[in-house]
């Protein structure tokens, strides 16, 4: 019974359009789980669930396109009482995530069949993880970011440990779980301290608070900010918070590694940009030196540690740390130019990482364990097309002109030089040279004559249709980004302009 003086609880208005892309992905995941439980023993469920997953990604892309059209004409806005932002920035990152998810799904079909791991849950988990990433790209509240971080991570812990028979996969799952939840806890404590200092967890609210009020005792705010950076540093795999990356990337099933490298980085960098360049822009004097340090360490640790590896998957994992360093160069600039450079880099990296890991997946053959540099000897004479594609993806990662990697590196360097960070650009170029050496080692191994003694035993490399399509898309995209980068650069620029503040 409601008394006269009690006001009924007001329901917050729900703007379903704001989260329609996420709902589409999650609905597809639920559909797959339901289908699995009603048609338990039907072998067709596996194929059907892959198709449902791709349809979900397509529907989500459609809604994202509608959001872009709306934002483009009406400007960015905040929905769900400020928890979610619908803006160009979010649309760009969501497009990258959807592209990476599509490529990972295409790779997974053939991989799961080859490894006899066919199960619909895999696709459901991947869609759940993608839902978390999409939500993270459009989050406008620290708690939304935390929840989406957990949605994407918990599904990824299971995916990393998905190959139950392979010990290294279980080990990757455990290590990712322990360090991932550690970083989440650190991130949550950071949110708590920022909440205490500013009285709100809304990113726009924090920015307004800091613009109005100068804190006399800002120790709590700074500790909170540092903890937020540590927590996200783990997720983007920036040194010195990179310890888990090589182990997890190496042990996880290769399509999952591709998904982690491409999509998780995009989502986590979206959060980094929204928190630091967006909400804490006024405090950039304080956080920029920290991000500078992370960028330098990531660039150097990633590229130098990759030199001494003999395992190709591990080399690419270390290189992903150094690629995080390049994106951090763009973040560190704390300008619109830096933000759009970081967005373009994330997009390019998603394509070239997925492409490279796709070839690694094929060369590994059944068992997913042929990752040594010696396994790549003679690949060029046995499978010239695959060797050529891997060369293309590695040259793109090294930053060779006419590939997307060159334009991406150029734009982050020019963003750094614009704000007078010559040293950072110099370290980046040094890391690019060391990285080129690493990639050259792999390429030289492929074009070396095959060992007579260690003749390529084991099953042949089989390229299934899905992987073929994924490789074609990735190769086309990387050349497209290198030859006519203007379209995507303009998109990234427009997306940065349409950032909800």
């Amino acid at each position: 019974m409601i008394g006269a003086g009690v006001t009924p609880i007001a329901h917050a208005p729900v703007d379903w359009y704001a989260i329609a892309p996420e709902i589409a992905l999650f609905a597809a995941a639920i559909l797959i789980v339901v289908l699995r439980s009603v048609a338990r023993h039907d072998p067709k469920v596996h194929q059907a669930s892959m198709l449902i997953a791709i349809a979900g990604v397509a529907a989500s892309a459609l809604f994202t396109g509608v959001q872009w059209a709306f934002v483009h004409s009406n400007g960015p806005y905040q929905a769900m009482s400020g928890l979610v932002a619908v803006d160009g920035f979010g649309v760009f990152v969501k497009s990258v995530i959807l592209g990476a998810t599509l490529l990972a799904l295409l790779l997974s079909g053939g991989y799961l069949r080859r490894e006899h791991l066919e199960s619909p849950e895999y696709f459901a988990l991947m869609l759940c993880s993608a839902t978390g990433m999409m939500l993270m790209a459009s989050a406008n509240d620290l708690i939304t970011i935390f929840l989406s971080l957990e949605i994407l991570s918990i599904a990824l812990y299971v995916l990393a440990a998905f190959d139950r028979r392979r010990l290294s996969s279980q080990e990757a799952g455990l290590k990712y779980f322990l360090l991932g939840s550690f970083s989440s806890a650190v991130f949550l404590y950071g949110i708590a301290l920022v909440y205490g200092a500013t009285g709100t967890t809304r990113l726009s609210g924090i920015a307004q608070f800091l613009a109005k009020i100068v804190l006399l005792h800002d120790g709590v705010l700074f500790v909170g900010l540092a903890l937020l950076l540590v927590g996200l540093g783990f997720k983007v795999a920036a040194a010195p918070f990179h310890m888990w990356t090589p182990d997890v990337y190496q042990g996880a099933p290769t399509p999952v590694t591709a998904f982690m490298a491409a999509a998780t980085k995009a989502a986590a960098f979206a959060a980094v940009l929204r928190i630091f360049v967006g909400a804490f822009r006024l405090y950039d004097v304080d956080w920029r030196p920290a991000v500078f340090g992370l960028a330098v360490l990531s660039l150097l640790v990633g590229s130098i540690a990759a030199v001494v590896q003999t395992d190709v998957k591990r080399m690419l994992a270390y290189q992903s740390i150094s690629h995080a360093g390049y994106v951090l160069i763009g973040v560190q600039a704390a300008t619109d130019k830096g933000t759009s450079a970081a967005l373009f880099y994330v997009c390019t990296y998603a394509v070239m990482a997925t492409g490279a890991f796709a070839i690694v997946m094929l060369v590994a053959r059944r068992g997913d364990d042929r990752h040594e540099l010696t396994d790549y000897r003679g690949l060029a004479s046995a499978r010239p097309v695959l060797a050529g594609l891997l060369t293309l993806f590695l040259l793109a990662q090294a930053g060779v002109p006419l590939t997307g990697g060159f334009v991406a590196k150029l734009s982050v360097f020019s963003a750094a030089i614009d704000v007078g960070q010559y040293w950072l650009a110099l370290v980046g170029m040094l890391a690019a040279v060391i990285g080129a050496f690493v990639y050259l080692r792999i390429v030289l191994a492929m074009y070396a004559p095959p060992d007579d003694e260690a003749a390529p035993e084991g099953p042949r490399i089989v390229v299934d249709a899905g992987t073929g399509v994924a490789l074609t898309i990735a190769a086309g995209a990387i050349v497209f980004l290198g030859v006519v980068p203007g379209i995507v650069l303009d998109f990234a620029h427009a997306a940065t302009q349409l950032l909800a503040r």
Binding site: I143, F146, L147, E150, I154, Y157, V158, A161, R164, L167, S168, Q170, E171, A172, G173, L174, K175, F177, L178, S181, F182, S184, A185, V186, L188, Y189, I191, A192, L193, Y195, G196, G199, T200, T201, P246, D247, Q250, G251, Q309, D311, R314
Partner: protein
Amino acid sequence: MSALAYPDHITATYYLVLAAILFTIGAVGLLVRKNTLVMFMCIELMLNAANLTFVSFANALNDISGQVIVFFTLVVAAAEVAVGLAIIVAIFRRRQSVNADDVDLLKG
């Protein structure tokens, strides 16, 4: 509430310091202990330290949202328990050990 049960001189600072200590115990424990189950409990301790901080700040700021956040955190912690224990059990079945030092296939 009577003054005896909740004395005035116990301020939010006490709770915040306690939370900071709990968080530190959790973080250090995760780094030094080798038993994966104990490491897991350390993570839970860190999450609860964050919860305590939220509640103390919510009380000090007279703002309800900090208390609501705790419910979200609890749900997240429960989901993490489900997945984390499943992974630990899967590894235990293969190795008959929950020691983190035994999980050493991947290195370099």
